[in-house]
């Protein structure tokens, strides 16, 4: 459908490791998630205290996008879109919130409730990086590369988007996976990309769904 779109960068975070473009960048074994992600924050961000108010899913998304942010730093925020998918929705935050509305310990927490929707992580990403383009969050069992490929192509061809953050972002019961990539429209001027991966269904599938 579109042959001027490429996958310019990818980031995978799981099992206490951070991998960018297939290279292991960061590892923090044998510590719980909250310690791992805090250390990643200290290494890659370190100046955004709002991070500590976020739920587990949002922290995961913020770190993953930070590692991809070079690819869109200079792009107009209205031209950047975000398309994310997961299967657990916001279940992790939902469970945390449920615990605050238990009969014998009834103190509903507003700061936790805020995160009981899966797309809030997109909100956090957009707030931090001043992204005003289109965003969507799909909940399904797997990452359907064909469906997402078509959604993204439409974004680029009709919706004034020239850069997109796309991928899978899931957190449940301390099991987590962030597998995101940047899709970009390229022009003649951008021929200095070393590893241009064409944006196709197959390549999107390989990038998001590949095993470590």
């Amino acid at each position: 459908m579109n042959n001027n779109l490429i996958i310019s960068k990818s980031c995978k975070i799981t099992n206490n490791t951070i991998i960018v473009n297939d290279k292991l960048l960061f590892e923090n074994n044998n510590v719980p998630y909250n310690v791992f992600i805090k250390n990643a924050y200290k290494k890659y961000i370190n100046n955004y205290p709002k991070f500590f108010k976020m739920d587990n899913l949002s922290k995961l998304g913020i770190i993953a996008v930070e590692l991809l942010s070079d690819e869109f730093k200079s792009i107009d925020g209205k031209e950047i879109g975000v398309v994310l998918v997961n299967s657990a929705s916001s279940l992790d935050a939902d469970q945390t919130f449920q615990k605050t509305i238990v009969k014998d310990n009834y103190f509903p927490s507003p700061s936790v409730f805020v995160y009981t929707l899966p797309n809030i992580v997109i909100g956090e990403i957009c707030i931090k990086h001043k992204i005003y383009g289109e965003s969507s969050f799909f909940v399904s069992q797997n990452f359907d590369s064909t469906f997402i490929y078509n959604i993204v192509c439409d974004l680029f061809s009709r919706q004034g988007i020239n850069t997109a953050i796309v991928g899978w972002l899931d957190f449940i019961d301390n099991d987590y996976l962030a597998s995101l990539c940047i899709i970009k429209k390229i022009s003649q001027q951008n021929l200095n990309y070393n590893e241009m991966i064409n944006f196709t269904i197959e390549n999107l599938n390989k990038t998001i769904n590949k095993d470590i």
């Binding site: 449920q98 509305i101 409730f113 805020v114 997109i122 909100g123 707030i127 992204i131 799909f138 399904s140």
Partner: protein, 401 residues
Amino acid sequence: MKKKVFISGIGIISSIGNNVIEVLNSLIHENSGIIYSEHLHSVYKNEIPVGEVRLTDEELKELLQLRNKLQNSRTTLLGMLAVSEALKNANILDINEFNTALISATTVGGMDKSELFYREFINNKTKGKLKYIYTHDCGESTEVIANHFKLKGFTTTISTACSSSANSIMFGARLIKNGLAERVIAGGTDALSLFTINGFNTLMILSHEHCRPFDETRNGLNIGEGAGYIVMESEDSIKKSGKQAIAELKGYGNACDAYHQTASSPDGYGAYLAMNKAIGNANILPNNIDYVNVHGTGTPNNDLSEGLALQNIFNNDVPYFSSTKSATGHTLGASGGIEAVISILAIQNKIIFPSLNFSQQMKELTICPTSNKVENIEIKNVLSNSFGFGGNNTSLIFSAV
């Protein structure tokens, strides 16, 4: 590839009616569906008014003729009923005759049942009825609805807070425009739950009275429940079936407010961007819009943000606008779908439905919502806004055919 997207059917259930005719009658008679809950056993039962659907789960099952012993979440039951009506309304006898997809949206999913399990389970891990939790996932409602109607085509679930079902409609339209489906049933469903009532209450954005959207004295929203779905078809599909389209989805736009997780920007930037995109996408001008069905939740924050955005985009020449949430309550993930149906009813019946409980203009704005219904008025284009937490803002444009 400027394919048109037509609407051939609509289905709805809400606190003001269990189907299209009942909802239309309530809107015409300016009735409100906001009451103190009869089915939900919240500690706030007699304090916080809600837009509750008047049927119990059993009554919903009866209408659907569901004789199984399976536990269904209320969200799913509401969705099934509205989809059923939309399919009948669109004269669809064989759902798989053409390549048909279902894009459904929800935020509550099966939480209305899971929370019943959790109350017992948290205190004693041997207690709690497991049958309450297998309906929990958002995707479950979509799959059960698809299976109930024996749909073989593509299905997916969108969950983006209060813009969820508006986004379903937008994505459904894209499937058609890109030739990936000939028909799409799109919309959303959400049931009342203790989870959402407590959550919104702790954010202090619930009103303890009937909400007053766009009124100077507004003090919060009323949560509602319900489901709204539309059947969209490609031009070819409509021609092949010899049907009459009832409306056209002329344009849509989505943008991010990028301001706060739950509050809207003070100048309504995200709202402005979404409306602007939709109007551009429809290839019309702002002054071609005859009616805006606003998001209008009745919170101090939303109505100011949205009001300023309206003034901006229409250059202070704002068309008739009203918030039908004053009648139905804020149906969260279902609101985009429910209000899509209401927008189409406005076009079909040539009526601008009123914004209830309005009496005092907001001091920051130069505009007021329509507080009395306007009848016998030609409505060519309706703009319908759905703005969600996370800054996810969507605007849809429905047009007369």
